[in-house]
């Protein structure tokens, strides 16, 4: 109860931390959470790079989904992220060869970037970058778009080169097979001049050799076509003409910080919790350290502890004084001022009999006094 009494006695003072600390927490959170935001709008092409030659992509998903997935996957690569950071002021602030700094930068960029496909159309992707620094936010956004495009093109080039080598190898084999087929067919025709002649019964062996030659020739033609396509794609990729996406809206320098109000709740709540904890600490400490006597119970505890049989005679409450000036005048005495009405309650003698009696008793004659 004493704790509660102490808490309620100066409750208005405890409003100060209750108001100030949440306000301070909110301000701190506002400062900490305020970020500069920039965003870009991309149009992702439904090219073979995303849905055709690359088997990692989901051909049932929209180009926007595939494009967003691709960029998000790239963000998981530390090398890619550090490559992005190389094009920003982060490279000046951090040592990007140091492992710890790399992790810090990678974590910061991953936390800053949000890539989501838009529900409209199926080709649109937004890339949003939040950062404490407006410059770095813009730099990250631009570097991310550039690096993503470069990375995809590099991947395509590598893939094309690999495919070209593979197709070339296959083509060589098929060419050899075709040459062999021609050689075999020519040898057979030379040995059997009538075979294949019109009007004669078909020669089964000749037919087989001819069919094999046709098959191998078809395969050869297909591989040549495929190789031509790969070379074309490779040439486009190596010259930078093979774009996975077009930037519809370039990222712009952010003008004002953006604040997400929901993020402030923990800071305001934390301030309030700190205020309550502070109040509990103060009141608790005051309660524990306070050794003053407040009630009859305290007095009873003292007499019981000292094993004294002293009763409580009365409990005189605090009474207001007659006037405010009286209260000031007798500030040292809680009951000063109430004695004045007490004395007015006392009967005022109309005679001087008692006065004379007592004065006479203490050795002064009434006559002398008068």
């Amino acid at each position: 109860m004493r704790f509660l009494a102490k808490l309620l006695k100066h409750w208005y003072l405890y409003l100060i931390p209750v108001l100030l600390l949440p306000a301070a927490g909110t301000l701190y959170g506002k400062q900490k959470l305020s970020v500069y935001e920039t965003s870009a709008l991309l149009y992702v092409h439904a090219s073979d790079a995303l849905t055709g030659t690359n088997t990692d992509f989901n051909s049932f998903a929209s180009p926007a989904q595939n494009g967003a997935d691709l960029m998000n996957q790239l963000l998981q690569s530390t090398n890619f992220v550090i490559g992005v950071a190389q094009s920003t002021d982060l490279a000046k602030q951090f040592d990007l060869t140091d492992r710890t700094d790399k992790d810090i930068v990678a974590s910061r960029i991953r936390g800053d970037v949000v890539i989501v496909p838009l529900g409209v159309g199926g080709n649109l992707v937004t890339v949003t970058v939040d950062d404490k620094s407006p410059t770095i936010a813009l730099q990250i956004a631009k570097a991310l778009l550039s690096s993503s495009s470069d990375s995809v093109e590099n991947q395509r080039l590598t893939q094309d080169q690999s495919n070209e080598a593979f197709v070339n190898q296959q083509l060589d084999q098929v060419k050899a097979a075709v040459a062999l087929d021609v050689q075999k067919l020519n040898a057979y025709i030379n040995a059997h001049p009538d075979s294949g002649t019109v009007g004669k019964a078909p020669d089964p062996q000749h037919q087989v050799l001819l069919a094999q030659l046709n098959t191998d020739s078809t395969t050869q033609a297909r591989l040549i076509s495929q190789l031509t396509s790969i070379k074309s794609d490779e040439a486009a990729a190596s010259t930078g003409h093979s774009k996975v996406f077009d930037v519809l809206d370039d990222p712009l320098p952010p003008l004002r910080p953006t604040l997400h109000l929901k993020g402030l709740i923990p800071y305001t709540g934390g301030g309030l919790a700190a205020a309550l904890a502070l109040i509990l600490l103060i009141v608790g400490t005051r309660t524990v350290l306070d050794r003053k006597v407040y009630s009859t119970r305290d007095l009873r505890n003292i007499t019981e502890e000292m094993e004294l049989d002293i009763p409580l005679l009365t409990e005189i409450p605090v009474l207001e004084t007659l006037t405010r000036s009286n209260r000031r005048q007798h500030d040292d005495d809680v009951l000063s001022g109430v004695l004045v009405p007490i004395l007015t309650v006392l009967p005022q003698s109309s005679t001087e009999v008692l006065n004379h009696e007592i004065r006479g008793a203490v050795g002064v004659s009434v006559m002398d006094d008068d």
Partner: protein
């Protein structure tokens, strides 16, 4: 004192307030304040009455003991309690009551009762004035002996007071002395001065005096002399809305 008579006097004032507007209001307000004070005076007197009634002998034929009010440290309301007890006794008893301010070091009775500080007991003990000169009548059967100016000799004068026949002279005249004693811990002659009283009321100021001070002071006083404790300035620790209806 019949408080109800005063209360009845308030009735016309209420009617006057209704007729005379603002001026009537102020007039009534002042009178009502006086009435409240009178009622409060009676109520407060009841608190002091309880003190002397608890300290007086059970047998009314016995001589009223010398009641002293002390405390552990200063500013605990000793002077007021002593004056209140004296006032209550003066209101109830036939004998004249003399309030003796035995706290020579830091007297406060003149402030409490609004009387002149000098001459007082110190001047009497130094032989500068007669006792009757320092005796002040406050009300019917209510007298005060203020302490006067100790001029830095409070301890010596206190010793002289204890060994003097002052109280005996008062008692022999039929008066009942009530002593406003110095604090036990704060005054060097507190315990000595307490020896003048037959029975002691020990004042404790709520929210000011520490338990350590109370214990130390009680330990210094003779156990049989301290007949009761008065908790002064007691306030409800919880606000009324939390306590419920008293």
């Amino acid at each position: 004192m019949d408080v109800s008579l005063i209360a009845r006097a308030a009735a016309p004032i209420t009617r006057k307030r209704g007729r005379k507007g603002r001026r009537g209001n102020e007039f009534a307000s002042n009178h009502e304040r006086d009435i409240i004070v009178q009622r409060r005076g009676e109520t407060v007197l009841e608190h002091f009455r309880r003190i002397y009634l608890a300290l007086q002998p059970i047998d009314p034929s016995e001589v009223m003991p010398v009641i002293g009010v002390t405390s552990s440290v200063g500013r605990e309301g000793r002077s007021t309690i002593a004056a209140g007890v004296a006032a209550a006794m003066a209101a109830d008893l036939e004998a004249p009551i003399v309030l003796v301010e035995a706290d020579l070091e830091s007297p406060g009775m003149h402030r409490v009762l609004g009387i002149g500080e000098q001459p007082g007991i110190c001047e009497y003990l130094r032989g500068e004035v007669e006792l009757a000169t320092v005796l002040r009548q406050i009300a019917d059967r209510f007298y005060v002996l203020p302490s006067g100016d100790a001029r830095g000799e409070a301890a010596r004068l206190a010793r002289q007071l204890v060994s003097s026949d002052l109280l005996m002279r008062l008692q022999s005249s039929g008066a009942v002395p009530v002593l406003d004693l110095p604090p036990v811990l704060a005054s060097s002659y507190g315990v000595l001065a307490c020896s003048m009283a037959d029975t002691l009321a020990f004042a404790v100021r709520s929210g000011q005096t520490t338990t350590t001070q109370v214990k130390e002071a009680l330990a210094r006083l003779p156990e049989e002399a301290v007949r009761g404790i008065v908790l002064n300035g007691a306030e409800p620790q919880l606000p009324s809305w939390l306590r419920g209806r008293d």
